[in-house]
């Protein structure tokens, strides 16, 4: 008590309290924001029938009984197996909550067989982009540097040069690519999910797609030659670090110099 009483007029106390309050509010927000809804799963039969059953139960309310689309969801005719696989496997569909756009969620509702069944059903309605084969996704011999050029020409405008994602209009965004698998990259390019335009095999041949996959994989695994990479978000992150850490350290040193020794 005496200790506190003697020091409560110290100007540092106000700063300390402020910091504490900030940390408390931030921590509280993080705790609330990270709460995720838990989901359950079901089982399977022959693929298309099973897919239809699953579709009618889980998708038709928005996409329509005949997958023709409603006011709440676009038509699925012609989107192909690749689109279904991409949307459902990444947890973007079924939609968790209405919002600017569907976000990828770590826990999917459907297991792999069920997703395959759904994809088979939707693909059976109208032809569309199929899922990639293992050969499509093999980018071992791809030209990484050419992939970089293609990435900067076609992808960096939305996903940012380092693949960290970027903002679009009205709260929509191009997601971060750091956890994207080559399969997801391929599916996204051929199907154009949500806001993303389609990069067809005719204008961006499979060879070029593989080069892009190789480059993005390179970005994902890249080391940072210059030290801590600050999220590779560019000058804003650098500026923030400058003021909060570097400049703060220099001010700290100046204060230390100014304090009389005991």
């Amino acid at each position: 008590m005496k200790f506190l009483a003697a020091r409560r007029r110290n100007p540092l106390v106000a700063i300390g309290l402020l910091l504490f309050a900030l940390v408390a509010v931030g921590g509280g927000y993080a705790a609330i924001a990270s709460v995720q809804p838990a989901q359950a799963s079901a089982s399977s039969q022959t693929q298309v029938d099973e897919g239809k059953r699953l579709y009618l139960a889980g998708c038709s309310s928005c996409h329509g009984m005949e997958a023709q689309g409603t006011a709440n969801g676009p038509t699925l005719l012609g989107v192909g197996a690749a689109a279904v696989d991409f949307q459902v496997a990444s947890g973007r569909m079924p939609l968790a909550a209405p919002g600017a756009q569907a976000a990828a969620r770590p826990t999917g509702i459907y297991n792999d067989d069920q997703i395959a069944a759904l994809a088979a059903f939707v693909a059976s309605l109208a032809p569309g982009p199929a899922n990639p084969t293992a050969e499509d996704l093999n980018f071992e011999n791809a030209d990484v540097a050419q992939g970089g050029v293609l990435f900067r020409t076609n992808c960096a405008q939305c996903h940012q040069a380092a693949g960290q994602g970027g903002a679009l209009t009205q709260g929509k965004y191009a997601p971060n690519l750091m956890a994207a698998t080559p399969r997801e990259m391929y599916q996204a390019m051929v199907t154009g999910p949500q806001s993303m335009p389609v990069f067809s095999d005719a204008t961006l041949p499979i060879k070029d797609k593989q080069a892009i996959m190789a480059y993005v994989t390179e970005l994902q695994n890249a080391s940072s030659p210059g030290g801590l990479d600050l999220g590779r978000l560019g000058p804003v992150a650098e500026g923030l670090f400058l003021w909060t850490a570097v400049f703060a350290a220099l001010i700290g040193a100046a204060v230390w110099i100014g304090i009389k020794a005991r």
């Binding site: 405008q157 806001s195 335009p197 389609v198 940072s224 210059g226 009389k260």
Partner: protein, 349 residues
């Protein structure tokens, strides 16, 4: 303690309201002032900082010779990082930092910490100096006759005014018009290398495009087929900076308006890629809303509606390129843009 009329070290000041009262603050002795052991400890502390600094310089040299510059190392929090830069930075940084820390510790612990008072001198010059300066000036003015010789004075002012003009003229050839001085900047800015029949090819791969290659919702960053030759001939990226376009395809029923009748080809639209605000390239195309967003200043254009501005600081719509197909069925431009692309300029009108 309520003594408001004390003295200062140099005497004479009487405390007045609005002036800081001059008072003695008791000088508190430091541990190093009273305890010789503590003083010796501080001495050792300072010296060891300097010694450690030397050691780190040696470490720097060793690291410079031994570490391969492509070696990576995993450090918690930092992740996978280049070893060389980190070690060189740590050793050189700490060695320099320790010199500073040692010097300051020395000053704080071992040098006298009694504040001294120095009276400041008035900045204003003494009166005789001012008078002498004025007299010198008057004498100079008189002797030169600056005031008397009106013609000399005026002609000198005129000469001084004109003298920088050659310097300004010399800047003229910072740029000379490529076509023997006939094209003015605004004429150059108003034209691109697009012309009727120029094939549209995919940027970076230079592959020509057929309409059926582009699905609805598709996007292609494209350039004129002659881009590479022009670029090589001119030796710069100027043509690319103006001719870059994006091709998009939407359901023809979704097109609300275009900048010219039938400028699309079966729902395929070509727009300039250069923002009309300050010239950033834009291809952030949202295929659902048909909005095009500039990553630099967030100008947003509605490509389904003549490329009109729907948000942000850009004042003009994105210029549209009229397109069609040639005899082989490849997409071609039907003409150049009908307005200058990119940011506005004075002569643009």
């Amino acid at each position: 303690m309520t003594d408001l009329n004390p003295h200062d070290g140099h005497g004479s000041q009487q405390a007045k309201l609005g002036h800081s009262p001059v008072a003695d603050v008791p000088h508190v002795l430091r541990v190093t002032d009273t305890d010789p052991k503590a003083a010796r400890r501080a001495e050792r502390q300072v010296a060891s900082m300097f010694v450690l600094s030397m050691v780190l310089v040696v470490a720097f040299v060793v690291a410079y010779w031994t570490i391969d510059k492509s070696t990576n190392v995993y450090i918690p929090v930092f992740g996978e990082v280049g070893l060389m830069t980190i070690v060189l930075g740590l050793t050189s940084g700490l060695s320099i930092l320790l010199i500073g820390a040692g010097a300051i510790q020395w000053a704080k612990k071992l040098m006298p910490d009694v504040e001294v008072v120095q009276m400041s001198h008035e900045l204003v010059s003494p009166e005789d100096a001012t008078a002498e300066a004025a007299a010198n000036y008057e004498r100079g003015k008189e002797e030169s006759g600056f005031a008397r010789f009106k013609i000399i004075r005026r002609s000198l002012i005129g000469a001084m005014a004109l003298f920088p003009i050659p310097l300004v003229f010399l800047l003229r050839d910072l740029w000379s018009s490529p076509v023997s001085g006939t094209l003015t900047p605004d004429e150059i800015l108003s034209k691109t290398i697009w012309k009727k029949g120029e094939r549209i090819v995919v940027d970076a791969t230079y592959q020509p495009i057929k309409p059926e290659d582009l699905p609805v919702g598709g996007l292609v960053s494209a350039v004129p087929a002659s881009m590479n030759e022009v670029q090589e001939a001119e030796g710069n990226l100027n043509a690319r900076g103006k001719a870059a376009i994006i091709l998009i395809r939407m359901d023809p029923s979704e097109i609300v308006s275009q900048q010219g009748d039938g400028w699309d080809y079966q729902g395929i639209l070509a727009y300039s890629k250069i923002c009309t605000h300050v010239g950033c390239p834009i291809a952030l195309y949202e295929q659902r809303t048909h909005h095009l967003l500039c990553p630099c200043h967030q100008s947003t254009f509605d490509l389904a509606n003549s490329g009109n501005v729907v948000f942000g600081p850009a004042a003009r719509n994105m210029p549209q390129l009229p397109i069609g197909v040639d005899s082989e069925g490849y997409l071609v431009a039907m003409d150049d843009f009908n307005q200058p692309i990119g940011p506005s300029f004075w002569e643009r009108g």
